[in-house]
Each structure stands twice: as structure tokens, then as C-alpha cells.
Assembly symmetry: D2
Homo-oligomer: 153 residues x 4
């Protein structure tokens, strides 16, 4: 699996734990953030994650092996990244991309249509949490996120 | 209309504008907040709102006239307030109450059932706004609120 | 106010009741649906709504007077309608448009940006209702809607 | 792990796949539904799930071994089930329970407080999906669910 724009490493760490036999490439352009992924992998004894300090889409050409699954959490221009990723993605591979803003939502949706992705799903997750405030448990909202995915033919 | 726990006066001001012939009693126990309602009414040239500095349920006995509609935005214990309000509410009158926490939600729901309220409705409103952050319009969530209402037989 | 794609007439009826001095033009291309608006206006004794059987954007040129407010509930192509509406809209007038699908959401958002609308707001309303099912009150979701609005300079 | 009110077996099958070394007891009182779990386990080659046809809380006394984790998807009275489960739960074990109606939400929340559960979390998940309707991708809402969890001291 490739994880592009891996941030603090939540996805690589979770995936690494769930798929002990899998190999995860985590791409992150910010050096400090990349170090944070390393620390989080160590903390959870995850040793099947390789961290790549680099910028998508440029660095994608050098990644080995080709992915069965790709998670796109960030990067720009998003439609370029998606197009490149599609090129390297194995047949029947699946791409998942997240969008927190309207433009990304639309661009990713359009890009998946242009790439003739199969089984496209777009889901908006909205989460409320009960938080203790004084003696009450108050409902507080987490900012919503859109999760788009599609398969290569 | 009675508005109990009127806060900054959003409900009284809006209602005052929409029902020019109506009479609105806004109950607020905090003196400074009550002054704020006054200022907001002046600002929007609303002159059919009477502001009562007092604490529900105690102050309700003195309010005149009896209400056709009651909006409960706060106060405690909420089930006591609702019971008292019900007593003064005219037949076929409607009460609307808001809840931001789990306990209020349950207590108001139970109280409406115990009072044998008709046409009870419970609605949870969850609002996301697109906010401009840098060059993007990001989805941000507003904390959800429950709106309960019911009619007197 | 102009209401374009007025459907069953909820918006015209509500607006007609709230603004007794206002004049509302309700545009609806389907004859039967237009008749339904008429019946709903009669039912609520609303007599400041004029119903226009016609298709936006073509019919807009004939509408009189120019609007202070426009509500766009439907019609296609949405960006053409918005552009025409903008032309007729009085200065400082406000347009509100609803979107239930991703494409409309994006097109309206883009159109408002292209028209250099001021005070643009995009809100997604998500409503859950408690519905009685057997002995329980179950949370059920209403499909979400996006409400976009902006002002003419 | 114990899964109480296992329904079609989604949770047992997923957990069985993720924790190959784990042992899952799936409790389901409806015989036909229990057979469905069996078929779903076979379909996904999951062989670490044991299916118990029985009714909670009565059947819980016979389950072996004691659980590290319990998932409560149904059953009544819910507070009795939770109390029994707590008795059998190992120290530092965690219980997760779902609620689709207001009463369950409140009863589970109260029961966790009464049991002095630690690290209680209450999350409401609201999901919207983009569904293709004609030429458009329309936002449709899935009914929300509350997920409550807590740990034994």
C-alpha cells in the first residue's frame, strides 16, 4: 500500500498492524512530520512501513513495488496525483482519497470519472461526540470529511 | 409567546419582527444578558418584547398574559420548568425546547411524554458550513442541537 | 421575490405569509405542479403570490418587477439561470440556491465566485428525526441539502 | 470477544479476519439468523467464530472463556445485559454498545456511569452517501447510530 500525504502516520500505523505481511510506503514531504511517522511506528512496534520524504506526484515514479491499494490524504494538484497513481496501480487495485474542502471533493470525483474507475463510492462521515462539560455531556461536532474511492479496471 | 432563557435575544427579536401584533415575554436571569436583549431589540426596532429579569420556574407565576407558545432555551431543573409552563400554556398551545446535552434531551423527551403532549417532534439539526481557509473552502461543523416540541391537549 | 422551480409552493406560501406587503413570483414549468401551488396558496389564504408557468432561464426576461431576493430551487443549466438572475437582481439583492447533488453544489459555488457575489455562504443542513417505531423512538436521517447564497454588489 | 445480538455476523466475521488468533463468541437468539452467521463465516473462511443460539442475558453464564472485549448490538433489557456482561468482563476489558433509539442511548449511558466504567466514549456516526440518480450524484443520508464504550476498572 502507498499512503500519500501520510501526516502523523495514523493510516500507515493502523494498516501496518492489521496487515503484518503487507508492505506500506508512506510518502510525506515535510521532514519533521516524516520523523513523527517514524516515532509513531516505533511506538506501536510497526516495522513494515517505509517512510519516503518526498513530494507527490514527482516522487511516485521511484516507489517500489507497485501498489494494490493507495490512500491519498493530501498533495496538490490532486488530479495530477490521482492520474499518476492510477498509472502505477495494479489492475483491480483500489484508491481511497479524502477531501475536506469543496474543490478537492469535486476534483477527485471528476478525476475518478475521467479515469473510468469502477465501484466508485463517495461517503461523507459526520461524527458527533459526547463531551463532558461541567456536569453535562454535551454533543460536539467533528468537522466532516468526504471519503472517495474507486477501482482500476 | 414566552421565551425562557432568552440569552442574547435571537428568538425574541426574530419573533418580534415576524409577529408585529404578537407580545413576547423574554425571561433571562442574568442582568447583563437581559440588558443585551434590550439593546438587540432597540437595534432592530423591535418594541413588542418585554424583558423579565428572573429565574424560571419561580418567576413564571407572575407572567401575564398566559402564552400560546413557549420556547425553552435553558433553565434548570428542566422538567420542573416544563411542568410549570404546561400549567400556564393555553389549550392547543405549543412548547419548543432545545437540548445540547444527552441528559436534557432525555429529560425533556420524558417530560413531554408524562405531560401527554400531542404531536411531539424531536429533531436533531446538524449544520456544516463552508469556510474559506487560505485558497480553499473547508467544511466545518457546527455543534448539533436537538429541538423538541409538543402541543397541549 | 422570485422563486424559481417552486415545486409544491412551500417557499412562496411561507414567504407570502411572512411578508404580507411583499410580492412573490413563483416560476414552475410543470402545469400540474403550478396548479398545486395555486391550491396551496388558497389553502393558506396567501394572495401575494403570482404563479408563472414557464421554464427558466427563458421566461425570466418577462418577469416584472425585478427582484430583491431570488430563491433557486431547481432548473437547468443552473449556471445559466444564476447568470440571468444576477442580471435582473437589484443591487444589494440576495440569491439563495439549493443543491442536493455534487454537481449542482460545485456549479453554483463556481457561478457565485464568477459573478463576484459578496457574503457568500454555503451551509449543509443535516436533519435527524426521532420517529416512533413500535415502542422505541428511533433516529432517522433526512437526506442532506446544501444551501448557497450570495449578494450582488 | 463476545458479540451479543450478532445479527448477520458483520462484526464476528470482520473481527475473526482481523484477529486470527482471537476467539469470538457470537450470541444470536434467532435460529435462522444464527445460520446466516454460519454461512457468512464459511463464505469468508473464518473459523475462529463460535455461534451460540441463545438469549442474553440468560445464556451469558454458560459462555467460556470470559471476554476481553464485548460488543452489544442488541438484546433487552439492555441495562441488565450490560450489568451481567460487566460481571464476566476481564479487568481492563472494554465494552462497546450501539444504540439506534433515544431510550437505549440513555439507558446504556446511565448503565456505564453506574458501573463506573472508565474512558467512556459516546460517538454519533452520521453518514451521507453520494448515490447515482439519473445523471446526478445525489447526497443520501444513512440513519445515524450512537456507539458507546467503556472500560472495566
Amino acid at each position: 500500500m502507498w499512503d500519500i500525504g501520510a501526516g502523523t502516520g495514523t493510516i500507515p500505523v493502523e494498516t501496518g498492524l492489521l496487515c503484518r505481511q503487507g508492505k506500506i510506503l508512506a510518502v510525506e514531504r515535510d521532514e519533521e512530520v516524516a520523523n513523527l511517522i517514524r516515532r509513531n511506528c516505533d511506538r506501536f512496534s510497526v516495522n513494515n512501513v517505509e517512510i519516503i520524504e518526498g513530494s507527490a506526484p514527482d516522487c511516485l515514479a521511484t516507489l517500489q513495488p507497485s501498489p494494490d491499494r493507495v490512500c491519498i490524504e493530501g498533495g496538490r494538484p490532486i488530479e495530477e496525483i490521482l492520474k499518476k497513481v492510477w498509472q502505477y496501480l495494479k489492475p483491480e487495485g483500489r484508491v481511497v482519497a479524502t477531501a475536506a474542502n469543496l474543490e478537492s471533493l469535486y476534483l477527485i470525483s471528476q478525476a475518478l470519472a475521467n479515469l473510468q474507475a469502477r465501484n466508485v463510492e463517495v461517503v461523507q462521515a459526520g461524527i458527533n461526540r459526547l463531551e463532558t462539560r461541567g456536569i453535562h455531556q454535551t454533543f460536539t461536532a467533528v468537522d466532516p470529511i468526504f471519503i472517495l474511492s474507486g477501482e482500476k479496471f
